[in-house]
């Protein structure tokens, strides 16, 4: 009697929704491959000519043209590219001649690491700040925090990176990347400034969303109940408001994952870190289209996968959804 049978029915509805979400993700990914493919092929001009430059001999262009299979019909090219991509083969880089997959595999870890550290930095900065801001809403701390947030979003991360270099170049390493094998401190010290530069802007976004979530949560009836029962304001914020506010915040973090990845590529160039950023930028300048296609596709796949992951973890964190899936 206690457990309404309705919950069961909803559970089935949810299974359907999860399937729908999966189908939607598949459509998006397929569409993304078409988009990535077309970007290079529909644009007027011969990619082979573009890659080799104006001075190249017609024979050389013709050779590369054939080598890349550009003389085949577009559909055929797309299909073979897609099938190869599914097998992990994204072709060879024109300028570096190495397989794109191998090139990306070397670099992507570094970029992802910066993005993850930046995310951590942003959470460490934003969550306590949003708690303070929402707790003393309208107070000086809250109002100045909101100005700082606008600044945080407005300041380009790469420019902040330069300012950080100016400020900390005598204390922290400002260029390059040290693998973990060089020692833990060596490794992390190289990541501090890039992560802060990238994380600061992200912190502003997380702060904004979490602050609004907190303010909405503390206006809910359950917070009034908790207050009416004499539960301390501190506990109300940490146990009641934050847990409810954090759910929408997680969604925003997922949506922003791609931008963190893109931002990491920019910040990398400032610190001369050998990640995806430098690689892709050089590829774009050299019109090395297999490498550009591969890099973009991998970024999109990561982005979409992170979003799906966020959706799933959201369901695990929110008991209302978790229980329905089990039931």
């Amino acid at each position: 009697m206690t457990f309404r049978p309705l919950v069961r029915a909803l559970g089935q509805g949810l299974a359907w929704r999860v399937t729908a979400k999966g189908a939607q993700t598949a459509i998006v990914l397929l569409g993304a491959t078409v988009a990535v493919f077309l970007m290079v092929h529909v644009v007027p001009g011969d990619p082979a000519r573009a890659a080799l430059g104006a001075q190249a001999s017609p024979q050389a262009v013709q050779e590369l043209h054939q080598q890349l299979g550009l003389d085949r019909p577009l559909m055929v090219q797309y299909w073979s590219w897609l099938v190869a991509a599914l097998h992990g083969d994204l072709g060879n880089s024109i300028m570096l001649t190495d397989p794109v997959t191998a090139l990306l595999a070397q670099r992507i870890g570094v970029t992802a690491e910066i993005a993850v550290f930046a995310l951590l930095v942003s959470l460490v900065l934003a969550i306590p700040a949003s708690l303070v801001s929402a707790r003393w809403r309208g107070a000086i701390a809250d109002r100045s925090a909101r100005v700082i947030v606008l600044a945080g979003i407005a300041i380009p991360s790469f420019w902040l990176a330069l300012l950080l270099i100016l400020a900390f170049h005598s204390v922290l390493p400002v260029f390059g990347y040290a693998p973990l094998s060089d020692g833990i401190w060596e490794h992390f010290s190289h990541l501090i400034l890039p992560s802060v530069a990238l994380g600061a802007g992200h912190a502003a976004l997380v702060f904004e969303i979490n602050r609004i979530g907190l303010i909405e949560a503390i206006q809910q009836e359950y917070v009034r109940t908790a207050r009416a029962h004499g539960i301390s304001e501190r506990r109300i914020f940490l146990r009641y408001a934050l847990r409810n506010a954090f759910l929408p915040t997680i969604t925003v973090i997922g949506v922003q994952a791609g931008y963190l990845l893109g931002g990491a590529m920019l910040v990398e160039t400032v610190f001369a870190i050998p990640g995806m950023g430098r690689l892709l930028i050089n590829a774009v300048t050299a019109r090395d289209y297999p490498l550009v296609q591969g890099g973009v596709l991998v970024t999109v796949v990561i982005f979409v996968a992170v979003n799906l992951l966020v959706d799933v973890s959201y369901a695990l964190i929110d008991p209302r959804i978790r229980r329905r899936i089990r039931g």
């Binding site: 939607q24 459509i27 998006v28 990914l29 569409g31 993304a32 078409v34 988009a35 990535v36 970007m39 290079v40 644009v43 573009a50 606008l150 600044a151 979003i153 407005a154 300041i155 380009p156 790469f158 420019w159 330069l162 300012l163 270099i165 100016l166 170049h169 609004i212 303010i215 909405e216 009836e221 791609g258 931008y259 990845l261 893109g262 931002g263 590529m265 920019l266 160039t269 400032v270 950023g277 892709l280 930028i281 590829a283 774009v284 300048t285 019109r287 090395d288 289209y289 550009v292 296609q293 890099g295 973009v296 970024t299 999109v300 982005f303 979409v304």
Partner: protein, 285 residues
């Protein structure tokens, strides 16, 4: 609870915004940037490309208020022209993506059915590309330059505007006056022009302002990595990049253009926020 919630907000949004001093300051700053963008060629004290190799990396002085760069060019002049090219990119991108987003949003939200489904899936695909990464792909196809930057960023922001405007259109369709116009047999095109469009203006203004801000960020990023506006034409992004080399000897070369970018972006974000609050006074702020 019901008793408490009944406290009604009876303030008109626009009067509140008009009297807000912070909003006035933001509008003033925005106006300054617009004036610079339009009139930079006549405002510049020096030829921005004239190199004076005996006067490189000089600090601020009477004849060069912001000093000179590594080629002895006048920083202030370059900064003014940099603002101009960045503002042009930002404005063009904001207008194109708002127009494109409006078109897609209207068609999608108004026709619904198959058309809506197809457009929505395309928008989904667009949203799966982080703007910077999409721009990289497009620029690799189009070649570097400010036109490519504008095209790439516009295409990058259209999905966002389309999604926002579609949901605004869907919201409007629920409104009584539009339903009743349908029932009384008013031609759909007329309904769109007479009833839907005027009610979308608020959302459109907010969206255009926000995209303007993010487009400026995007231009700065692309030009910074050398894929946007190409030197010697100055833009805020490529000035930060070229100043980077001399950041330790002459920090002003990177600080000034970055600051100029941050101020206008912040101003636009603030105006966008204020417009959104005015359009929807019930949102928590």
């Amino acid at each position: 609870m019901a008793d408490v919630v009944r406290v009604s907000v009876r303030r008109g949004p626009l009067p509140r915004i008009r009297t807000d001093p912070a909003f006035a300051i933001a509008l003033f700053l925005f106006a300054c940037y617009v004036v610079v963008a339009v009139a930079a060629p006549v405002l510049v004290p020096h030829d921005p490309n004239a190199q004076q190799l005996r006067d490189i990396l000089r600090g601020p002085s009477g004849s060069h208020l912001l000093g000179t760069d590594e080629y002895g060019r006048d920083m202030l002049s370059r900064l003014l022209l940099g603002v101009r090219s960045s503002m042009v990119v930002g404005a063009v991108v904001a207008l194109i993506s708002s127009a494109g987003g409006l078109l897609l949003g209207l068609v999608s939200g108004y026709m619904r059915g198959v058309v809506d489904f197809v457009i929505s899936r395309i928008v989904d695909v667009g949203l799966a590309f982080p703007t910077l990464v999409l721009s990289l792909a497009l620029i690799s196809a189009l070649g570097v330059g400010s036109t490519s930057t504008m095209i790439a960023l516009s295409l990058g922001f259209i999905p966002f505007s389309a999604r926002v405007l579609r949901s605004a259109v869907l919201g409007l369709r629920q409104e009584g006056f539009i339903e009743s116009a349908h029932v009384t047999g008013v031609h759909p095109a007329r309904i769109v022009v007479r009833h839907v469009l005027p009610n979308l203006l608020g959302t459109l203004a907010v969206q255009t302002t926000m995209v303007f801000a993010y487009a400026l960020l995007g231009e700065a990023g692309l030009s910074f990595i050398g894929l946007g506006v190409q030197p010697p034409t100055p833009s805020l992004g490529n000035m930060i990049a070229s100043g980077q080399v001399h950041a330790l000897e002459a920090p002003g070369l990177t600080v000034a253009p970055g600051l100029a970018a941050a101020v206008i972006i912040m101003t636009l974000l603030f105006i966008g926020d204020a417009l959104r609050d005015a359009a929807d006074p019930l949102t928590v702020r």
